[in-house]
Amino acid sequence: MVCQECGKEEANIFIAKIINGKKMEIHLCERCAREKEEFDITFEPQFTLHNFFGGLLQENVRSSGEQVRAAKIQCPKCALTFAQFCQIGRLGCSSCFAAFGAKLQPLLKRIHGSARHIGKAPRRSQEAILVKRDLERLKEEMQQAVLKEEFEEAAKIRDRIRALEKDLEQGGKRT
């Protein structure tokens, strides 16, 4: 087994560590182990996500033909293939997200329980996003109003939706 630190020397020192509540072993060569003497537990360990991603390619697809096709999906910007991503567990650039889109979603759901960001956004993206979120919410409210036969209310909401949609066309600025 190769040292997980330098990736060169033979690993002959095993160190047990808790990662995510489980005991895990880290394999190091003598030199690296000596250099470290102890691990820094403040930072996340840079362990590869092999276990996590290993089955990903197989799991997501039904037929082996589909599997081959999925593996060949390539990011047009950085040329990373989906198969490479599954191997190293790292995306290559921001365009990978669009390129692997449908394949990536289930993975993100599995890691985070969700595949939709609802936190901070850079200011320049914020306005447009907030408007879109408002729109989604209003559309839902409108449906609820219709279901409850509150048509007057529904009409009011519809007008607000139209106004927001107009804003959005004009660059996301709220009027």
Binding site: K17, N20, E44, L49, C78, G92, S114, A115, H117
Partner: protein, 353 residues
């Protein structure tokens, strides 16, 4: 100059809230620049461009960054890098990033901005005690400043885009470093570890040869970065941390009630060894410091302070020892140097025996 590398990090003050169980709180956000591949796939020109963009931003908002110093990893000595790692200011990952890795470090060492780590930018704040919200405010402030001139890779659905899928979304990793001697001594820690991973928190500690966590130090951090707003991620971790603190305090009280003299004996013995031993491994030092810390927190040992205990946690580590000694030391030499430096620090204090 040499001394300046020491003992300035704000987290070592030891005066934050809940300082008797929480050593430090740390928050970092991961950010990338749109149009440039993530560092591991980027060319040298591209990672150099990342450095330039950050440098330009810093120059543009000079007032905000006047307290920062910019250091290229390639221009630092091995020891200097390692000291920053030992003080938790840069990651081991960045310390190996010789090409275009760099760090922007605020003078009080509470904020560090890591450049060309796994992501283009990692903005981190680390404060003493339980101060997650405050650490987030710090990191968030610099994130806002950088965002003004840097076009972040951001997706409406996925949020901030990062090299590793485990960071996507908020890019936020918050963690607390806890000292839990009583929970560990009374073997209650394992149940706690299990429970924490059930609620989406990651726990890390360090095992020695047996099953002991070295120095009774455990780090708890959030795992989920996507689908929750930052405030909620922080609130969850804060809430769980409070519960762990509560349990640790109960376990400490129980220890005091059932075996006060044993606890006192253990703490005083540890202090005795720190004062008089002549050979000491870092693992032994970590354990002794934990025993002394517990004695201090329980009011058994007085005359010390938490700043000293935190400083000792750092100076016993390899690079700091070598820097203090002013030369490269082998493991065996370090085991001789360590008690020397510990004595040196302790000599300024007079415990009431």
């Amino acid at each position: 100059m040499k001394q300046e590398l020491f003992v300035q990090s704000r987290w070592m003050d030891g005066n934050g809230p809940e300082a008797d169980t929480v050593i430090s709180s740390r928050v970092r956000v991961a950010r990338n620049i749109e149009g440039i591949p993530f560092p591991y796939l980027a060319s040298d020109e591209q990672t150099a461009a990342v450095q330039e963009q950050v440098a330009r931003t810093v120059a543009d908002s000079e007032d905000h960054f006047s307290q920062f110093c910019y250091q290229r990893i390639a221009e630092m000595s091995r020891q200097e890098k390692q000291v920053l790692v030992e003080k938790h200011l840069i990651s081991p990952f960045l310390s190996r990033e010789a090409h275009n890795g760099a760090v922007l470090l605020r003078r009080d060492e509470a904020v560090s901005i890591l450049i060309n780590e796994e992501d283009h930018l990692r903005i981190q704040a680390i404060l003493p005690g339980l101060q997650l919200e405050e650490a987030w405010q710090e990191a968030n402030l610099y994130d806002d400043l950088l965002e003004q001139s840097i076009n972040y890779a951001f997706d409406e659905c996925y949020g901030y885009l990062t090299a590793c899928p485990t960071n996507v979304g908020t890019g936020l990793r918050a963690s607390v470093m806890l000292h839990l001697p009583a929970l560990i001594m009374t073997n209650k820690i394992n149940r706690l570890l299990g429970a924490l991973s059930q609620v989406g928190l990651a726990v890390r500690g360090l095992y020695g040869e047996g099953t002991e966590i070295i120095g009774n130090l455990v780090q708890v951090s959030n795992q989920i970065t996507l689908g929750l707003p930052e405030e909620e991620i922080l609130r969850n971790l804060y809430g769980i941390t409070r519960q762990i603190i509560e349990q640790e305090q109960q376990a400490r009280q129980a220890l005091l009630n059932s075996s006060r003299i044993r606890v006192a004996d253990r703490s005083w013995r540890a202090l005795g060894l720190l004062h008089y031993a002549r050979i000491m491994s870092s693992q032994e030092a970590m354990q002794l410091l934990s025993d002394v810390r517990l004695g201090y927190d329980l009011g058994i040992i007085t005359g010390l302070d938490r700043k000293l205990l935190n400083e000792l946690l750092v100076i016993i580590r390899p690079a700091c020892l070598q820097l203090l000694a002013g030369k490269v030391l082998s493991v065996e030499e370090r085991n001789l140097e360590r008690p020397l430096q510990i004595r040196n620090k302790l000599s300024r204090f007079k415990e009431a025996v």
